[in-house]
Symmetry: C2
Subunit: 263 residues, 2 copies
């Protein structure tokens, strides 16, 4: 275990204090430009995908279990913490004892050129971290070209990161992008924009021709997209079904539309 740089048992240690702050405060994350990860799968997914992990924290029990795998990442700063501390800093009920601290992903904060006729999901006012994470995960499954956050929840919120199940390290995600910037880049890449609305007069998603690609705009869970955003989109689309559309969760609705977009 010569790859362990230090052993922390006190909750007053500055590493632990900083970790907790990054976990709970968006302001702190923005200030330090760092975020945290919890869970063995998530941490190893980040490492495998070359995410800018700066520190790995691992409990004594977890160290026994993941020793072999951790050794591959010995060039990183790996810190051992007591099991008790692991339970203290955990954001989940039942921690696996593997945590990491990671720099913001550089390419995530700026919307550079989009892929010509690419396929994107744009979250505009979406607030629930579980939904946001599930959408990133599904976009990865369906092979979208990226997910853009605009006026939505914090992509670096631990609940969002956890709900992506590692997909956040596998597909391009863009955070805190101004809406005008989104429309400008879409236009430059010749990507039509589609506002997802609950309005039976909008175009049925089943009959949309997505052969030129498309950016799907998804709004807030309770209120949907703002009128202003809808009016800026090229088209309005909706999901027509026999059932009760009010029962469709935002992430599920987005999944259905992404399915039609990519098939």
């Amino acid at each position: 275990m010569d790859f362990i740089s230090q052993h922390i048992t006190s909750k007053d240690n500055s590493v632990i204090k900083n970790f907790r702050k990054l976990m709970t405060s968006k302001k702190e994350r923005r200030l330090k430009r760092q975020f945290v990860l919890e869970g063995s799968r998530l941490v190893f997914d980040a490492l495998k995908n070359n995410a800018p992990v700066t520190k790995i924290l691992v409990t004594e029990s977890a160290l026994e279990k993941f020793c072999g795998e951790l050794e591959k990442y010995r060039s990183r700063e790996i810190i051992r913490i007591s099991d008790e501390l692991g339970n203290k800093i955990s954001d989940t009920g039942n921690t696996q004892g593997v945590f990491a601290q990671c720099d913001f992903m550089e390419e995530c904060g700026v919307l550079k050129t989009l892929k010509a006729h690419g396929r994107y999901a744009v979250l505009s006012g979406l607030q629930d971290p579980g939904n946001a994470g599930m959408i990133i995960r599904t976009a990865d499954a369906m092979g979208l070209d990226g997910v853009i956050f605009s006026g939505s929840c914090d992509i670096y919120n631990p609940k969002v990161i956890r709900a992506t199940m590692g997909s956040v390290f596998r597909i391009p995600v863009f955070s805190d992008i101004e809406e005008d910037d989104v429309f400008m880049k879409l236009s430059a890449a010749q990507i039509p924009s589609y506002a997802a609305v609950v309005n039976m007069e909008a175009c049925d998603v089943k009959s949309v021709d997505f052969s030129n690609g498309g950016a799907i705009f998804i709004g807030n869970e309770g209120n949907g997209l703002s009128e202003k955003t809808v009016s800026k989109c090229t088209y309005s689309i909706t999901i027509k079904m026999n059932g009760n559309i009010e029962s469709l969760n935002a992430a599920m609705a987005t999944g259905i539309i992404m399915w039609e977009l990519t098939k």
Copy 2:
């Protein structure tokens, strides 16, 4: 507030003790043939849909807020509890203070005749309550004829019930059904069965003709369907995508297949 039958402030009161047992123990639920609900939306959805609610528990604070609505259900047993007790019996972090105790839904435990050429989801070994609830919710949205639980998690688990967002009271659900019984009733109703598998040689869900209806069999989150179940199904189908199918969550995959089944 003459519709309040009693006021409970002690956690040792038998009503509270029974409520807690029903919340945490599947065995207790099976014994009493009752389950519990938490949350104003869920409780009022149950009442509106004539679910067999036997007791409504409401905290002092919640009573002020929901007094008018509760009065409509004055024929039921409505019990006031202290706010402190409300926090104690809550299964969520942030309770709304409205709870109910409900008899098992009579039609839920027996698989009677299925609708000829109907559309059903069959959960076979699915374990995560959040996924199970989300599938019931999405089946309601898409207008399926029912959801059948076979060898899966307990439909009356508070986490399942909560994740359905009230849909469990709106569409037919069947709990603890033997697999042989499922196949028998499907056959009688001339409904073809489709095993959802991750196998690129299986039939692409996009090209399946569901005009004779269909029952979609969904397996365990980690291991999928058992070979035995797959072999009993008429067809095997899969979701073909450009992306990483391993990233597709079980509830989302089921949602996509139900979408194809009903469109």
